[in-house]
């Protein structure tokens, strides 16, 4: 699915990623854990093509297409979806309008007809009820005045509507209560199948109690220093990260 090779990236001339190698095959869920400032969110942003960051070397490929130089929207259309850590508000732009525009941009790219308003609405309503959200959610402005939980649920609603190939969850579990956490996990589990991949960036084990990862990566100072199974998560919860430092 996604192959990252020797990726180095910087912001304002400060190098953050110092050679990331990583591959997530279709059907797998990978997790990245690490301290604050280790470069986890930078990696998520660089995968999505955020132009605030400069890629200094290395490459990112989606299904053998090199996307390192691709624009943000073309990567999105190639199947990359970022669940934002802090989704931004866009006042006056309705959720339904935004979501349908996004969906139809993807459908157009895939050579499909645009989805009409009615079909879209029925789809969206079904997802909303699974997320425990009211239909009126669609009439609100994007993330405008949303609670923390609503913002994250809105991201999951978009994930399930757009149905991308790779979902990158940037600390989606931060600041959620148990119920909201379960709802988010339920959404991610509904999304994942053998044809797509998930990359979860998190500080905590709690989301991983609901979503079982295939591979866990530990990141320190812009590098992946350890990869393994769920037992790594337990070790970090118990011992922190200092044992990884040489």
């Amino acid at each position: 699915m996604i192959k990252i090779k020797n990726l180095e990236a910087s912001i304002d001339d400060k190098t953050i990623l110092k050679g990331i190698d990583m591959e997530i095959p279709a059907g797998e869920v990978h997790v990245i854990m690490g301290r604050n400032g280790s470069g986890k969110s930078t990696l998520a942003n660089v995968i999505a093509g955020n132009e605030a960051y400069e890629v200094d070397s290395g490459s990112i490929a989606m299904n053998d297409t090199d996307i390192t130089e691709m624009s943000i929207e073309n990567r999105a259309l190639e199947g990359i979806f970022l669940c934002f850590q802090y989704p931004v508000a866009i006042p006056g732009v309705g959720m339904a309008y935004f979501l349908r525009s996004a969906l139809n941009a993807h459908r157009k790219h895939q050579g499909k007809d645009e989805m009409d308003a009615l079909e879209f609405l029925n789809n969206a309503k079904a997802i909303l009820s699974e997320l425990g959200l009211d239909d009126s959610f669609l009439k609100r402005s994007i993330n405008d005045g949303f609670s923390g939980g609503e913002k994250k649920k809105s991201e999951i609603l978009q994930l399930l509507t757009i149905n991308p190939k790779l979902a990158v969850l940037d600390e989606t579990d931060s600041g959620l209560d148990v119920d909201a956490l379960r709802t988010v996990a339920k959404g991610v589990n509904k999304f994942k199948n053998e044809n797509n991949s998930v990359l979860i960036i998190t500080h905590y084990q709690r989301l991983l109690n609901y979503i079982k990862p295939d591979v866990v990566h530990l990141m320190i100072d812009g590098k992946i220093v350890e990869s393994g199974d769920m037992s790594l998560v337990e070790k970090v919860e118990k011992d922190g990260y200092s044992w990884l430092e040489k």
Binding site: E73, V93, F98
Partner: protein, 481 residues
Amino acid sequence: MVDKNQQVIDKTLEQEYKYGFTTDVDQTKFEPGLDEEVIAKLSKIKNEPEWLLEWRLKAFKNWKKMSEPTWAKIDYEPIDYQALSYYAAPKQKKNDSLDDVDPEILETYNKLGISLDEQKRLEGVAVDAVFDSVSIATTFKDELAKHGVIFCSFSEAVQDHPELIKKYLGSVIPATDNYFAALNSAVFSDGSFVYIPKGVRCPMELSTYFRINATNTGQFERTLIIADEGSYVSYLEGCTAPMRDENQLHAACVELVAHKDATIKYSTIQNWFSGDKDGKGGIYNFVTKRGNCLGDNSKISWTQVETGSAITWKYPSVIMQGDNSVGEFYSVAVTKNKQQADTGTKMIHIGKNTKSTIITKGISAGEGQNTYRGGVKILKNAENAQNFSQCDSILIGDKCGAHTFPYIDVKNPSAKMEHEATTSSIGEDQLFYCNQRGIKLDDAVSMIVNGFCKEVFEELPMEFAVEAKQLIEVTLENSVG
């Protein structure tokens, strides 16, 4: 990203104005220059009664004593009023049948997307078309007459309804009101006249389409709308002009009178030529618009979408004279290239329990300068007056500017005032968010700007809201990279 933004902003500025064509038509045009004789000649062509000529001459006498206002935040070369022609008209006289209108002119309106053919016209919208100094056609007159509604050119109204003109002309904007209003009063040529009788809800939208075609000609239209007791009317004006290297002057006056329980909703979509990317050419738009809520429980609502003109100087205002009357001003003003807009409103509370709302959205791109200037005045006897003002500005790029000058003058302690103002840039984070969802940059910009303007667009009649939205999209195409 910033560099790329700049490149695309620069690209936008090179975009052509869609309505910049000229129409080749036989015309009668005065030689440049302005004096009593020119005014007398104009008045004679229009077969005006003696009192109206005197009114014009009095206005002209006053105008000569006045000086051009300099308080606005706009910068332009002095206007040579003697170098302008004060009358230009297609040679054909206005006729009742469209068959008699010069086909070139009909074609002009077709190109502008305004069909004067009633069959093809949007259902429920009557149009008065003003070409340079004269009205060339008014549609749906018969249909409207059945309801007692008068909708005709100002010149016709002078002939057919002189008593109404005499009673109301200058009753809201006195001939001596300000420099540009005085000039207009002296030389106005045509415009629209509307009278809605008691208790009538006007059965269709009324609309006037202004087109400046001739060179070196000022357009000085005069519009007068009277809504008698308990009536309702929704009126819309649209404006375009050819691309010309020299600046053209447009100094209009619009007067609205709302009697007891009457409502007037006045919407403008102004898209005059704004000049080229170097700021050459474009319309100087100096307009006085004012409504009087004369009767109790009356309401006047202004909605404007201003995207054109090199200079916009415009403050549609409401005098709330009747008790419980309501004044509203909703505005979207876009400036790009070297456009300058100094626009806003004045709300004057005289009656008891009067209420006003001001919502403005300024959008600046390129080197555009956008100024909101608004005054709210609560007079001594205006018990329990209320005002809510919200002035938001958005900046696209780093060479433009947004300025806000609110003036508040409260003479009655029971007044309740609220004022909010924000200025923001289109956020890179908002664009990133939209792009990440597969939405292209241009679409993202228009989505964000339209969201920003939503409260104002919601006030426009349905058909025009769509037009306004598209106009913003075209105007801002490629403005961010």
